[in-house]
């Protein structure tokens, strides 16, 4: 009973085991640290491919004018910008992130690009979303779910705020489906990426956490099962770039 209790109170922070209550602050510190250089690091780390992954996500969302979209862990607003263009003045996009530094960077960037009028910014925890039931047509969470302490609670919370017929799209790092790719990817993640982080953002630790947190994140099939357990129907996923990233899609009926 004691060990069970202990395991319930502990969680992963990269390869470390930490108290559940501490993870949120630890993750917040990582993102406070990387927020200013987030976009340039994304381009460098993925060699620009993250733009194609995000475009694929927008495509899979089948977003239409007038839709109400929640961009969870929206960060610097790459998805919000695209959604805002499509939903138009009759639609609405809510960029939500638990980290206020990321929201500030995202808000400044989008306002400078003239993305205003149909975008709202909210600091929110994905595990307990501050929205009424059945509010959104589409919810996306791109490269954010692995940082959430209680992923099951987050998926249930997302399910609650989705309208019937609405869909969730989870874009997240996953497990490469080729052995050779996995080895190359591991070498890149643990030897090159943290050093690039040190060079550009002067923060090796945060980028080491990024690599570790990716390895600790559920693989494609596990996440699919988690989404089904949270109530989502017709759950499927697409492997992108050999499974380095996967896009999971599920519907609420």
């Amino acid at each position: 009973m004691t060990s069970e209790f202990k395991s319930e109170e502990k969680t992963h922070f990269g390869y470390q085991t930490v108290d559940k209550n501490d993870k949120q602050n630890l993750v917040a510190n990582v993102f406070h640290s990387v927020a200013a250089k987030y976009d340039i690091m994304n381009d460098l780390m993925s060699m620009g491919i993250h733009r194609v992954w995000k475009r694929f996500t927008i495509d899979a969302s089948a977003v239409r004018p007038g839709n109400k979209v929640l961009d969870l862990a929206g960060g610097t607003g790459d998805l919000t910008r695209k959604f805002s263009e499509i939903v138009g003045e009759n639609g609405q996009v809510v960029l939500a992130d638990i980290n206020d530094s990321m929201i500030k960077v995202g808000r400044e960037k989008l306002e400078n690009l003239g993305v205003v009028g149909n975008v709202e910014y909210i600091q929110a925890n994905a595990e307990a979303l501050p929205f009424a039931d059945n509010t959104f047509d589409i919810v996306t969470i791109a490269f954010g779910l692995r940082n959430v302490t209680d992923k099951d609670a987050a998926l249930k919370s997302i399910y609650r705020v989705l309208k019937p017929g609405g869909r969730l799209l989870v874009l997240e790092f996953s497990k490469p489906n080729q052995e050779w790719l996995s080895k190359v990817y591991d070498f890149y993640s643990f030897n090159i990426l943290p050093n690039v982080g040190q060079l550009i953002a002067n923060d090796k630790e945060s980028y080491l956490y990024l690599s570790e947190s990716i390895r600790m994140h559920p693989d494609q099939e596990t996440l699919k099962t988690m989404m089904q357990s949270a109530g989502f129907d017709q759950v499927n996923y697409s492997n992108l770039t050999g499974g380095i990233v996967a896009l999971h899609k599920g519907f609420k009926f």
Binding site: V52, F56, D59, S61, A62, R64, E85, G88
Partner: protein, 200 residues
């Protein structure tokens, strides 16, 4: 995903090019929020176009399309010819779902566009150089069209004139028969001549 990567290059280029078609704005306004999808059944590929804020968005997702055309890749070219559409639909080679007017409006926008390439080129190269390049291209185009017309005429007239003097099948068969007869007569004459020599 490769298609999405390609769209990232094609989409802005397409919208920029349409910006130099002075009639495009009016055509785009009519297509605002209208989604048109072409599904190539043999390639299992869908391409959707959606106009948002006078800009074309390219996507692979066909969901919520206002007009969908399903056909094979080799029939794609026929889409621009309205007279062939009915024939293709009747022969089940093309399936149409939704508002045909949207398909025609997209076809009108993309195929019958009148893009001012010289204006577009001038933004990168300046007016003078753009004008010279455009003039050379126009002249080359005209020369090519003239040459093609010449070749067409030469081939057509050669075929027509040759046809007049070309023997038909009956004449050819008759000629072959005459040659065979002549050959046989020559053989007989040669044989008679040989016998005559031996007897002398």
């Amino acid at each position: 995903m490769l298609l999405n990567a390609a769209f990232m290059i094609i989409e802005p280029a397409l919208n920029e090019a349409l910006g130099y078609d002075y009639n495009a704005k009016q055509k785009l306004a009519k297509l605002e929020n209208k989604k048109f999808t072409v599904t190539l059944t043999d390639l299992k590929l869908s391409l959707s176009l959606l106009v948002i804020n006078n800009q074309i968005k390219l996507m692979t997702n066909a969901e919520g399309s206002d007009c969908t055309v399903r056909t094979k890749f080799d029939k794609l070219k026929s889409l621009s010819d309205a007279s062939v559409l009915t024939k293709l639909i009747k022969s089940d080679e093309l399936e149409l779902e939704g508002d045909l007017g949207i398909a025609q409006a997209y076809s009108n926008l993309l195929i019958e566009s009148n893009i001012d390439w010289q204006e577009w080129l001038s933004t990168y190269l300046g007016d003078a150089l753009a004008h010279r390049i455009a003039s050379v291209i126009i002249k080359l185009n005209q020369l090519l069209a003239r040459k093609l017309a010449d070749i067409d005429y030469t081939v057509a007239s050669a075929l027509t004139d040759e046809l007049k003097v070309t023997p038909d099948n009956i004449e050819i068969n008759q000629f072959i028969e005459d040659v065979d007869n002549l050959h046989a007569q020559t053989e007989r004459l040669f044989s008679m001549f040989t016998q005559f020599r031996k007897s002398v």
